[in-house]
Every structure is written in structure tokens, then in C-alpha cells.
């Protein structure tokens, strides 16, 4: 399975992992995860941190990492896996993480990194006090699986007796934790009397996906700063004020993104429907143009084929099929079609041309990025090529998900995703050190 198929699976398959009352694990895509891990452990693990991956897929990746030996991996790869593990432990909803950890126990997997992870979760979780109260038996199971039942209980007994740092306690427990003081308190709570009906914390303490604006009422100007500025420009606002602001917003949006060593061709739908009308006028065109501006910064080479009029004067019918052929003629590594999905010159042409590409000897990946007004737009009549990989976007915050999905369809995208996630992990660690969480 290639990266784009794997990421698509991670983004779309959200079935929960479950453990029956007898502890039997139901993991419907275990084979896929095993193959992906064996092919590229580091790349597989990093992919779990790409924005937009389903949380239950992240739980599966955590399970796979903890259940698998890392003996054959070099130190740098292990260091990456350790960072990913920590991000997943505290980036999942506590119940999901507990399920993954109990599944590790069920699989009887116990490696050094497994022990570290389980101890970290049980004793260092940012919401650990509430979690201990709510899921005490499960956390005890995790700790005893990690340390060994008799060792864990011996440590608990010593702590109960007032031991805060004996050689035994240090070598068997405290060396696995970054915060001995909290660990001692949590072990006392784990082996102390429980709390009846304590609520389980529901939210991940350190969310993996970047925060996003989620306005209750969507307007043309609350869909991200780039699009909002473009809307004002298209409406005829003052260029002298808006152009510099636009450049600044694009720079901010792309500041932390690496360059993609690839040639991307963008078929940009600039037909009349992209302008929209009434209260939605300019909403879709501005967001599509925002994506183009971001891609222009990210891609080493970007060829843009405008299908219709211009972004500031959309006009005419939608001929995406000819746009696709023009884009392919430029010899890119990837073609992205950005459209509202309304095709009328003539309908079905894009699908037919896309279906004809393999026979014409074209192997360039082609994807469809669908611009919508809001998350819930009805796309019944807006699916011009159902067999093309597609993703929708309506807000600038969607770019965090859209870009990895889009770029993973070309070979250089693998390195881009790896670098992007590693950079995010580094920033996350730095932020956590400042903020004292995770």
C-alpha cells in the first residue's frame, strides 16, 4: 500500500478498536497496519500525526508501535518513534489510549519502549489525577503489565510506607518517569481506595491536530485571513492596504512548512459559479485562490491552468477536462484540480478523461480538491469525477489536512510529510517545555 492509500485509510476508517469483556481484541485492519509498519516504521508512525487522521487510527498506530519490537531499528528512528508515542499517548482521548494500552497487554507485548510508554501514561498523564480516579483498575493493569505485577505491587507497598527514592524504587520504577514526585503520588492513588463514579476525562490533554476556527455561522469573511482579504480585494477594496496584508497572511500560513521538491500543476476552476452569488459571493473563489497562493509558496514549481476567467473576474463555463490535459502537458509530478465541482462543458468529460489516462500511458497522479462554502455542503450534483481521489475544504484551517493529503500523492510528498510532522513535533515539544504539559 502506498502512502496516499494509507493516509486515505487513516482519514476515512474510523471504526473503534474494541476489547471484549474477556479481553479479546477486535482490530479489523490489523494486517494493513502490520504491513505498513514493516515497510517503513518511522514513516508509518509519523503519518499518524498528520492532521485529519481519525483518532481510532491513531490508537491503532500507538498499539502497533508498542506491540512491535524496535530492536532492528537505528537510534534516530527509535528517537522519532519515542516522540510519536508520547504525542499519541497524550494526543488521544484517554479512553482511546487506555484501549490501545490494554490491547498491548492482551497481545502480551512488552518491550522497553512499551514499559516507558505505559508508565508515562499511568503516571505522567496531564489529566492523570482525574484519570486515576475514573479508570483505576485499567491503569493498574497497564502499570503491572509494564513493570511486572510483583514489582509494581512492591513499589506501591514501598511508596505507601514512605519510600521516596530507595535504590529499588529508583531502578524499578522511577527511572522510567520524568517526574518522580507526581509518579509517587499517582502510585499511591492507584493502589489506594477508589473513587465511585468519577467521570473520565473526554478530551485529549495535548491535541494532535492544530486548533481551528469553527464559526457557528459561516460568512464569506470568517474562513481564514487569506480568503477574507481576497474577498475584500475582489470587492474592490483598497489595494495599498490589502495587498501587503495578503502577503503577510500567506507568509504566516506557510512559515513553518518545508518546500516540496516537486512540480505541481494546478487546474484552477475560475468559471462563473466559483464567484457565487448573494451572501456567498466570492466565498469559494477566494478560498480556492488562497490554496493557490499557499501552494505557490510550498511547491518548488507550480504551474497554474485557469479554467474560465480570472480569480478576480470568474466567468464562463467549466471545462475541467481540457484544463487537466493542459496541466498534464506541462509534465508535472502531480495535478491538483481545484473546483466547486460544477462541470458543464460538458458534464462527464473530466471523469472520462481521467479514466482514459492509464490507457494513454499517463501515470501522473491527479487529485480533486473541492472548494465548498461550509463543511456540510451537499455535493450530490458536484462530483465531476467520482473515481478521482478527492478532498473538500472550506476554511484556511483545512489546509493543515489538505496539503499532506494532496502532496502525499506524489513521490516527493513522502519526504515533505516527514519533515512537516517532525518540525511540528519539535515545536510541540518546545511548546510543552514552556507550558509544562506533555
Amino acid at each position: 500500500m502506498n502512502m496516499s492509500e494509507l493516509l486515505t485509510h487513516f482519514r476515512t476508517h474510523g471504526t473503534p478498536l474494541t476489547l471484549s469483556r474477556r479481553g479479546e481484541l477486535a482490530w479489523d485492519d490489523a494486517e494493513l497496519h502490520r504491513e505498513a509498519w514493516e515497510a517503513d516504521p518511522e514513516g508509518y508512525a509519523l503519518l499518524a500525526l498528520v492532521p485529519g487522521v481519525r483518532q481510532w487510527q491513531r490508537a491503532r498506530v500507538l498499539l502497533r508501535i508498542l506491540a512491535s519490537s524496535q530492536a532492528h531499528l537505528a537510534d534516530p528512528a527509535r528517537a522519532v518513534l519515542a516522540k510519536v508515542t508520547r504525542a499519541l499517548l497524550f494526543g488521544l482521548a484517554p479512553d482511546q489510549a487506555v484501549t490501545a494500552l490494554l490491547a498491548v497487554r492482551r497481545l502480551r507485548a512488552n518491550h522497553k519502549h512499551t514499559t516507558r510508554a505505559m508508565v508515562a501514561f499511568a503516571l505522567e498523564h496531564p489529566d492523570g489525577d482525574a484519570l486515576v480516579a475514573a479508570r483505576r483498575p485499567a491503569l493498574v493493569d497497564c502499570l503491572e503489565h509494564a513493570l511486572g505485577k510483583s514489582t509494581a505491587r512492591a513499589c506501591a507497598r514501598l511508596i505507601a510506607e514512605g519510600d521516596v527514592g530507595s535504590p529499588y524504587l529508583r531502578s524499578r520504577l522511577l527511572r522510567f518517569t520524568r517526574d518522580p514526585e507526581t509518579a509517587l503520588r499517582r502510585v499511591r492513588a492507584l493502589y489506594g481506595p477508589g473513587v465511585h463514579n468519577a467521570p473520565v476525562p473526554q478530551e485529549p490533554p495535548v491535541p494532535i491536530d492544530p486548533p481551528r476556527e469553527d464559526p457557528e455561522i459561516v460568512t464569506v469573511t470568517n474562513r481564514g485571513d487569506i480568503a477574507a482579504t481576497l474577498v475584500h480585494l475582489y470587492r474592490g477594496g483598497p489595494e495599498s492596504e490589502l495587498r501587503p496584508a495578503l502577503a503577510r497572511y500567506v507568509a504566516e500560513a506557510t512559515r513553518d512548512l518545508p518546500r516540496l521538491a516537486a512540480h505541481v500543476a494546478l487546474v484552477l476552476d475560475t468559471s462563473a459559479s466559483m464567484r457565487g452569488y448573494g451572501e456567498r459571493e466570492w466565498a469559494i473563489m477566494s478560498q480556492a485562490e488562497a490554496l493557490r497562493l499557499v501552494l505557490a509558496e510550498v511547491c518548488e514549481r507550480l504551474t497554474v491552468i485557469e479554467a474560465g476567467g480570472r480569480p478576480d473576474a470568474p466567468a464562463g463555463a467549466t471545462d475541467l477536462a481540457t484544463g487537466l490535459l493542459d496541466a498534464l502537458a506541462a509534465g508535472p509530478d502531480l495535478v491538483a484540480i481545484v473546483t466547486d465541482g460544477y462541470e458543464n462543458t460538458l458534464p462527464g468529460d473530466l471523469a472520462r478523461v481521467a479514466a482514459s489516462l492509464p490507457g494513454a500511458g499517463v501515470t501522473t497522479p491527479v487529485v480533486l480538491c473541492q472548494a465548498t462554502f461550509a463543511r456540510s455542503d451537499d455535493l450530490t450534483f458536484r462530483t465531476p469525477a467520482p473515481d478521482l481521489p478527492r478532498a473538500r475544504f472550506w476554511h484556511q484551517d483545512d489546509f493543515a489536512e489538505l496539503l499532506p493529503w494532496l502532496l502525499c500523492h506524489c513521490a516527493p510528498g513522502r519526504a515533505w510529510i516527514r519533515q512537516t510532522v517532525l518540525d511540528r513535533l519539535s515545536r510541540r515539544v518546545a511548546a510543552a517545555l514552556e507550558g509544562g504539559r506533555a
Partner: protein, 321 residues
Amino acid sequence: MTELATLMPAPVDLTGYRLGPPQQAGALTVVPVWGPEHAGLVPPRGGLKLRRVVYYGDLELHNGAPEGVAIVPLHIGYIQHGAQNHALCSAALIAAGQTRRFENACCVQAGQGGYLQGRDQWFFVLPLELRAEALRLRGTLGFAKLWDAIAKLNEAYGLPKRGHLEQILTRKRPILTQWQSRLEPLPGQVGALFFVGERFAGMEITPSPRYFADMWMPLVCFAYGVAAWQAEPEPRPAEPYRAGSLAELRAELERDRAARMERVASWLAEPAAGGEWTVEEEERYLDLRLSTVTGNGIAGQVVTRDGRPVYASLFSTRWER
């Protein structure tokens, strides 16, 4: 694509008008029309306003433009929340600053009380399926005169059999209004031919691109979009072209498109086969003449100036449900 001159007989002499490449979406095909722009005629949004409903089936329109004659589009209707929605059975000519009363209007919402006011209203054009009946009843008084036809239409579309056009226009609005994006007006366009499936549905010619832009949504979404919505074809799997290279693929696409254009062009024979036409003048304003034309399977109204059409709304009469 082709000249329009031979498509319709007099008084719909369309010399000077030409057709553009068709657009298709679902069951609806639109062939754009370009042609001369006629000055001094007010577009519907520019000056035409519903002033009030005097009584059910009796309303007043006002041309508020400082100058120019307003051509009231054929079968225009007004929708307002909480009020009885109305439509007109005939086009009309209203001079600048003039208010005109239409006592032969029809209610399109049986059982709804309240009168339309001159606020928060939007306009539509009666669906194709009702247009022949509405035109036939243009001289008849009685606000309920279209209720039976509306009820029949609702029933045919699986909706409760009531004289409520609102069941289609308002409740299906999210689907119907997508037509204005699924098909796109082109710069300078003054009219269009509409086909549903492969059958001629209507021809609309307006005095100017601005007038047509005002009419685009009511025409594509409501006048012809309703029938097309009901005829929406099932999506079919894409059949690849036989092409061994990009160049061959481009050639195949162009060949296939040309074949489909020709096919659409062949549909144009239907309106041309209207047979003998009868022309009945309805009203005149200076050199403008409003006439009702009726042919074999086609009917509608035309506004001419010096014998040349400046506005035409002609539709197939074979769509009654």
C-alpha cells in the same frame, strides 16, 4: 454554433442573434444566445417592484426606474414568507414611474392567507409544466384559476395534491437553486434555449445582458429547473476513450464534443417545426408591441420594436403534467 434566424417564423425573426456552445448539467441543456442590445428597456431588478397585493389575484407592479419601459417578464411570480404568493399569466409593458394593476393574476398558494408587501420578496418564473395553462388563462379573472394545474403537478412529482406551488419552489429550493451554479451564464449573453432531456423546453430572449442576468436564476432554477430536476439522470460510470497518448486523448475529447454539439444542434429542429403560428397583439407602448404567439406545440409572448423582437419567452406546450 449557428445563426438563429431560421429557428422561428415572424414575428420572432431572430436575424442577428446567434447561438453559442451548449452547456449541460443533469437533464438540462442550455444553449446560450448572443444578440443585439436594446436600449431604454428596464431590467426586472432595476426598476420593477411589486408595490402591493390589492386582493387575492389582484396586484400592483411599479416601474420605479427614472426612464425606460419595463418589460414585465412572462409568468413572473413573487414569493414572500407568510403571504400568498402570486404569479402573472402574461407579460406587460410599464412606462417609467407608472404603477399598473393586474386583476388577472393568480395565487399559487392555496389556503395561505396574507398579502404580499413590497418587502423581502424574491421572484420566480412559473415552471414550464404550468406555463401553457397560465398563458391560456391570461384573460380569466379568479385568483384560484391555477390551483388545479398546480395540484396536478404536485401529484405528478409525488408531493401532496394541493394548489401550493410553494411545495416545489420553497421546499425544493436548495436543489433547484443549484441550477444557477450547475449552469453558468456567459458574458454578453442575452438569451438561451433550454432543453430538458433531448426535448425543446423553451427559448428566452431578453433586451440586454443585464436583463438576462436578472432573469437567469428564475429561468434556470424555476421555469426549466423543475422539469430538469424531475428528469435528473442516474450517474453513469465513466467510459474511457481509446487513446494511446495525451495527444490522442485530446483529439478524442474534441471529436466526442463535436459529436455531442451536433446532437444538440439536431434538437433545434423541434422549435422550428412549430407549423402555422397565430399572433395576437395584447398591448402596445409607443413602438413596442406585446403579442402572444401560438404554434404547434409552442406558445409564448414576444415584444417587438419596429417589427424586430426585443423580448421573447416561448416554451413547449407539451410539458403539461
